[in-house]
Point group: D3
Chain length 207, copies 6
């Protein structure tokens, strides 16, 4: 019987499920290295499935928007696999403020409503467009980009990234929600000090 | 005035928009290299937007399913950016047959209906689950996987890949839709010759 | 004396032998990450030599063939170095069934006898040829391929991979040697249920 | 004589100097691909040497600073080699405004004077310090960072990048030196419209 | 009939065989980029097969050895696939002199005779051993290494590389077979000038 | 108030500062993997700043030169970021002997004096030139290269690498400062045995 084949090949399969080269589900309590998290040893199908994007994020806030990530820190199954996702909910007038992903390119897919999205190249050229349901738009790695609701009803989008951990640097938070001294902000952005102080006040920044 | 700054930095921006490191929209009629297509020189926002996934694919076929890709060959804006997408339409009883993507990992996002999806690891372990709307599932690079409609109404999913050109090798097409001699198929798959001949007949294979 | 040079440069060499960037012999009992195993600290020449491919594998089985891997799990010295090997023994009528390596390209080198080898592209084109002693053939990453003895005497080949852990997914094992339900196999492969049941029986599959 | 060795090995060296894997000096008028420029065929030592960083940049401008790049577009020898450089001249009170390099990490080396440098992480934590002559500081890829003269005399620094084409996105130029509509800027940055208009005026932006 | 499936998927396969992501057989007369050669458009199985390693190299020379490469320049099928091979023939007393591969790690497989092989780490530690038929040894990227016949009969080995174009820098040729001035060699190697002149004479070097 | 935004995004920032994808400061006492060191958990600005290159190295030795590295082992902040640096001090007649960096390309920047620098390609072509203050020169990965003081006063250079751990293999140390048997050196380098013995004596080699 062919059963004998099993013995020939089976030693190939004697190591753990977390075979390097097949997959490496993140052990979120394990070590991190430049390549990602160390691998979890016992794995089930639930490690590869994530339901956290099913529900709308809470848009009852000033930007009338919510970003729900499924990066490796939320969805350990993508560790080392070179991709991840997130969900965007935009109420009417909702906006995802100017931001970058330092470590990944992005594709946005509009699944509900209409969204105006754009990015700015290193050459300072602006590329923006109003997208309808079913449209996709790609944002090259590391460039400033934004999205806002371009319609009169709530909008929903799902975004994909070329990294399990693309990062997210929101311009206003980076500048105004920490203790970077106002004088340094003024000096390096040419913004008026009053403007800086005003935004620090609302975003919780100090100094 | 600050205008003078422009002169200092402007020589940085004198090269074409298709700056290496920012983006490289594919010139689909240009040369291909192992890194992708050569870069298009004149670029507009429309190079970064793709509407081809907006409409449902035609599922009036035997598998009752359609796959609509937005790989680099359809969506030149993703060239070199490490990601791409596709749309899956599954009528009732629709199925995306067993297949692999030789060059990319995948995340499937269910946006309508219910889909049963699974993959098989190198250790021959099967991971499959019925997914509801909003669920996502990751399929590690190069492994056999499948999706089929698990509900009683049409289902739609969008899939993201970790490569602009992940490839798609559908098992039945690879085995039965070309001129690979039946004797070789029998010898290398242990399928009965009658089974091979039957599937070659329906899929258009010869030899 | 030039001996003094030693003092100048020696602080460069004060870290362990397992210098990142030179080599990283796998500690097989250590942690795995997406980049491979953690590095062993004490290293000798024997970590870089492997004799497990010297002896023929046992081909007294139904496929009349044996695959002996020297992947990182068997040969820790290749960890992080981007390559590995394996040995193929094919008795008369021996066959290495249809399979893929999800994470690596392969070159096959025939060192004894004659081997017919082939692969199938994403475009469903078949590339196969009978190879003689000394011939080499390359199989691009992730594509289905096969090898069988094309002569009247035993054949031996050595295969090289572009990864320390290329993986190995044998089609028949993936489909028929686990608990993937027969109905799902039928649905996603178009094989007849009787065919599926027959192969599950010989390969030890259930469900 | 050993001369005979030459005949044995010489066929290895019959291809052009621009051997793939050794180096690939950019043909700046050639094609670009995601991996860089196509290779120049005739190469001399001058392709590997660049003198454009020897002279101080002109700091007679409002930021009292100059950035002189030696990216692949200026220094074709670095094409495909994974690194590049630039020179920073900072007059008294000079500042390199808040910016990112979308495609590369940076190390700054102070060779004259004193420079205050900092970056902001995705977690909105600010890391900044006054650096003296001989100090180096690393700025991780894609994160907002800045430098300004922290002393009472001119300062000079050289910066190294982990890419031949790291890109440079200066925040003020990205926001205010193009035709991105003021309303969109206001909406996506929370800046006051008057502030936006003021900076557009000085930086040459429209809309 | 299932034939209808063909229509659904066929548009995926309408581009050329040289699909980015599947394979990219080198057009050796085409352009080179940092990622390799541009892709050939018409491809047959013979592009993936190479017979040039079948015959022994000519060892009637002073080193009593021959190296026959199957790098991308000889075997275009490996372009972009991350691996290549070469054949080593060592007559009795044959030697492959001290050398490096700047762009790839290597595995040596002894198929006939006995070979003493070794490498030297960045920490100046020597790892060497006499290998028998069937043994394999790995040489980490870029490190000095050597092989010589350790037995009393001819030896043959096949070597695999982790790059289609690993490069080959033979120490004696690099130092003594070109016009690098003897004074510079003496200054940078501490060799006696007489020694330098002697080796320049036999290897054809000038200056 | 906009303060509410904080609640929406804040869960993104709840993990440690050593976020995969942003940076991964090396824990030098932690594990190493092929991708570098594991990440330190508590990080301050001082992890990103290194002052060890500020002081001149001691050139009171026979080569009249000193190399001071800021590789990951000295400067943990560069772990995983793809670059590092070093300082070269060359007294009058000082020389950095023939060497390679197995894992990185290099750019040399002359900041004081005049330096003659060169490298040798795989094709045995020599590229060398006398560089003045402010000149930069690139050395492709893995190739033999050298630098020596070309003037009549001390020279200083800073070198950048395309890897946090480029390695450093100095030819004379690799050959003559360890226990590699003299007979093997003679056999694999064609140097006279007396020459080998002489250099072993000064460099501390045995055997």
């Amino acid at each position: 019987m062919l059963l004998a084949i099993l013995f020939i090949f089976s030693f190939l399969f004697s190591s753990s499920n977390a075979l390097v080269g097949d997959f490496c589900v993140a052990d979120l309590k394990g070590l991190q290295s430049p390549a990602g998290y160390s691998c979890k040893t016992a794995v089930t199908v639930d490690d590869f499935v994530f339901s956290g994007l099913a529900a709308a994020g809470n848009t009852s806030n000033l930007i009338k928007a919510a970003v729900t990530p499924a990066f490796v820190a939320q969805f350990p199954g993508v560790n080392g696999l070179g991709l991840s996702m997130a969900r965007l909910d935009l109420a009417v007038d909702g906006v995802v403020p100017m931001h970058t992903h330092p470590a990944g390119s992005e594709i946005l897919l509009v699944v509900q409503g209409s969204i105006c999205a754009g990015f700015i190249s290193s050459a300072n050229v602006v590329y923006f467009k109003s997208l309808k349901r079913g449209d996709i738009m790609v944002f090259p790695q590391g460039l400033l980009h934004f999205q806002f609701n371009a319609g009169k009803s709530p909008a929903v989008a799902f975004v994909s990234f070329s990294s399990p951990s693309p990062g997210l640097q929101i311009l206003d938070f980076a500048l105004f929600a920490n203790d970077l001294p106002s004088d340094i902000i003024v000096k390096t952005t040419f913004l008026d000090k009053a403007q800086v102080k005003k935004l620090k006040a609302v975003l919780g920044g100090t100094a």
